[in-house]
């Protein structure tokens, strides 16, 4: 079903008359990512969003001055964290996840010759490349039986910073999703344009494989802001 719908999107673009103009560029920016994740009765684990960075190499094919198809190779951090409240206050973890994403989108632009606004609609596929976890836990065998009320009155804290170890049963390293973005492009010269944009990446794939009954899914929601430059490849 998903393949059919993606195909439909590109069929619409392919039926349009050609106005061939290739562009290539580079963009960099920052990301703010959060998880959609209902922890249920693990309610004293509070997940929060974290920032990261993004780097992309876009290539764009303009059919018309108002319509283009754009693809990117994007390195994107989708970070998140949790902290524990109540009896476990002080326990926390920051997780950094690094993705290589290939977004594919339709770009609709409007405005004047130099300054134009644009709207992007599309989707992406990608791969979870690596990750890192930093956090604070406690050493069980450091127990001080006369300690106080909080976890770190009773146990010695342990700060960790470790490479994320993938679990092949649980971790889904493939991801796909939808995206929408808006931005502005300033055409400096006929061949060089500067742009700034905001984009929302809506993950459709669970971070986990379907490995257990009554599984709680987790999805990325990523907001990126990026700036870049596009070079139009001159036609012969």
């Amino acid at each position: 079903m998903k393949k059919f719908l993606f195909s439909l999107i590109f069929a619409c673009a392919c039926l349009l008359p050609a106005h061939a103009q290739w562009s290539l560029g580079v963009e960099a920016g920052m990301s703010v990512n959060s998880l959609t994740y209902d922890t249920g009765y693990f309610y004293n684990m509070h997940y929060f969003s974290r920032t990261g960075y993004s780097l992309a190499v876009p290539v764009q094919y303009s059919f018309k001055d108002w319509f283009a198809v754009r693809a990117e190779v994007a390195y994107l951090q989708k970070n998140f964290g949790y902290e524990v409240s109540g009896d476990g206050a002080g326990i926390y973890e920051f997780t950094s996840t690094n993705y290589l994403d290939i977004p594919l989108m339709a770009r609709f632009s409007f405005g004047g010759k130099r300054l134009r606004g644009f709207l992007d609609l599309g989707g992406y596929v990608g791969s979870w490349l690596s990750g890192h976890e930093t956090g604070r836990s406690y050493i069980t065998f450091s127990e001080n039986p006369t300690g106080g009320d909080t976890i770190f009155d009773t146990y010695t804290a342990y700060d960790y910073s470790v490479k994320y170890e993938f679990d092949k049963t649980r971790d889904n390293r493939f991801e796909a999703g939808l995206l929408v973005g808006v931005g502005l492009q300033w055409q400096v010269t006929k061949l060089i344009g500067l742009n700034i944009s905001c984009r929302y990446w809506y993950g459709l794939t669970d971070l986990q494989k379907n490995y257990m009954r009554n599984q709680t899914p987790r999805y990325h929601n990523t907001f990126t802001t990026q700036a870049g430059v596009m070079f139009t490849i001159p036609q012969k």
């Binding site: 609609l121 836990s137 050493i139 009554n214 599984q215």
Partner: protein, 413 residues
């Protein structure tokens, strides 16, 4: 312009449809506070989900928990479809329920796992299941009442060694009046080997330190051997037949024996409702005592056997991790997790113990791996030098395992 708007609308609609691809989270109820388990189906469902979210060993346990649901939910539903008409029939149904729970949990590897199911409205309808205890009966060397035979044999051997002078300066304390020989004790073997006997870590030895009582006396004597005895040849820590107890006692017993911070194991806990949601492995570190007087470089031997469980096994891990440490005896029981018998412990460990009005499920909140990278849960720690329980020897008042430890310290072999 119209075409542009139509195309944008179509694409937006398609992307909107794809939005429906996200799965909803299941409704998860905290089994610790689940009420109205007024059917066998609800009881099974609560138990199954309690295990699904709180059992810490899913990454290594062989039990197919989804297959358990598929097989046993229909069986519990069938019980509800044929309700008992009187107490005798209900008791019969309850026996069937016990069999189902035994089958479901038979292969669980948690060495501490214990499930008690009680029907509060019906006196006497209660059962307790311990898969690890059941599995122990299949082990080579198992004999019924072996623990009692051990304590009787150890007591006789201890008296013999005191009588013949091979054990001197013997001080002891009875932490719990269970059987003769169930003691904490310290003394000198062969005049130059410090010997510490710990039958249990519950109650805690640490709670007696500094009190001036007999338990404090024997521990201060043990500390004195480590700190001051000039010709100390070695140390033997005997945790055979010790079912475990207070985590804090590990430092008390061992932290004078390490010369630097020593990682002896790693533990991880749950950090989410998924079966494979874990914290990173956290190193468990034995830190040298601040009261340490000298660095010891003598052999340290831990004696353990198939009835050494939990804290007794962590003592074994810690000694094995020492550069001069050796484990002599038998493969231990295989219960290495830690837990607190308190529902509120969930809010720090996010797994483990569950107790409600229908069942109490004792399961640990931590999973342990040794420094060699292996998880020995449900398996037991293998000895460096195997020396099996010698029933015939004990009958004659000879502790062959202790003698083997003495020989090792004296000869290195």
């Amino acid at each position: 312009m119209k075409n542009k708007i139509i195309i944008i609308f179509l694409l937006a609609s398609v992307t909107g449809m794809l939005n429906a691809c996200r799965e909803d989270a299941p409704q998860l109820d905290n089994p610790r506070y689940t009420l109205y388990m007024n059917s066998w189906e609800k009881t099974f469902d609560t138990f199954w989900n309690a295990m699904n979210n709180n059992y810490v060993f899913w990454s290594v346990d062989p039990t197919d928990w989804d297959a358990v649901y598929d097989k046993y939910m229909p069986l519990f539903q069938e019980l509800d479809e044929n309700p008992a008409e009187d107490m005798d029939a209900f008791a019969e149904q309850f026996s069937q329920v016990e069999e189902y729970f035994k089958e479901m949990t038979a292969d669980l590897i948690d060495g501490h796992y214990n499930l008690q199911v009680t029907v509060n409205s019906a006196e006497g309808l209660e059962f307790t299941i311990s898969p690890s205890s059941a599995k122990q009966t299949e082990r080579e060397g198992y004999m019924e009442n072996r623990i009692l035979a051990f304590y009787a044999g150890w007591t006789l051997a201890n008296k013999n060694m005191i009588a013949d002078g091979s054990l001197t300066e013997w001080l002891s304390y009875v932490p719990q009046d269970l059987v003769e020989g169930y003691v904490w004790g310290s003394g000198l073997l062969e005049g130059d080997i410090a010997y510490l006997r710990i039958s249990t870590y519950a109650p805690s030895i640490t709670s007696h330190i500094g009190t001036g009582d007999e338990a404090d006396d024997l521990m201060q004597q043990y500390f004195g051997y480590i700190d001051n005895k000039e010709d100390l040849a070695g140390v033997i820590i005997d945790v055979r037949g010790n079912y475990g107890g207070a985590v804090a006692d590990l430092k008390t017993v061992l932290n004078r024996l390490v010369n630097e911070e020593t990682v002896f194991a790693y533990q991880r806990e749950k950090d989410g409702p998924g079966r494979l949601d874990y914290t990173p492995w956290i190193p468990q570190i034995l830190v040298p005592s601040e009261e340490k007087v000298r660095n010891l470089n003598v052999p340290v031997v831990v004696l353990a056997d198939m009835n050494s469980v939990s804290m007794a096994e962590h003592t074994t891990f810690a000694v094995k991790a020492m550069p001069n440490g050796t484990f002599i005896g038998e493969r231990t029981f295989g219960g290495h997790g830690t837990y607190s018998a308190d529902n509120n412990a969930f809010y720090t460990s996010h797994g483990g113990y569950v107790s409600n009005y229908m069942f109490t499920m004792v399961t640990t909140s931590t999973m342990t791996k040794f420094i060699d990278g292996n998880v020995y849960e449900g398996v037991g720690i293998p000895p460096d030098i195997e020396c099996p329980f010698d029933y015939e020897g004990f009958l004659q008042g000879i502790d062959t395992q202790l003698e083997r430890a003495i020989t090792f310290i004296q000869t290195g072999m």
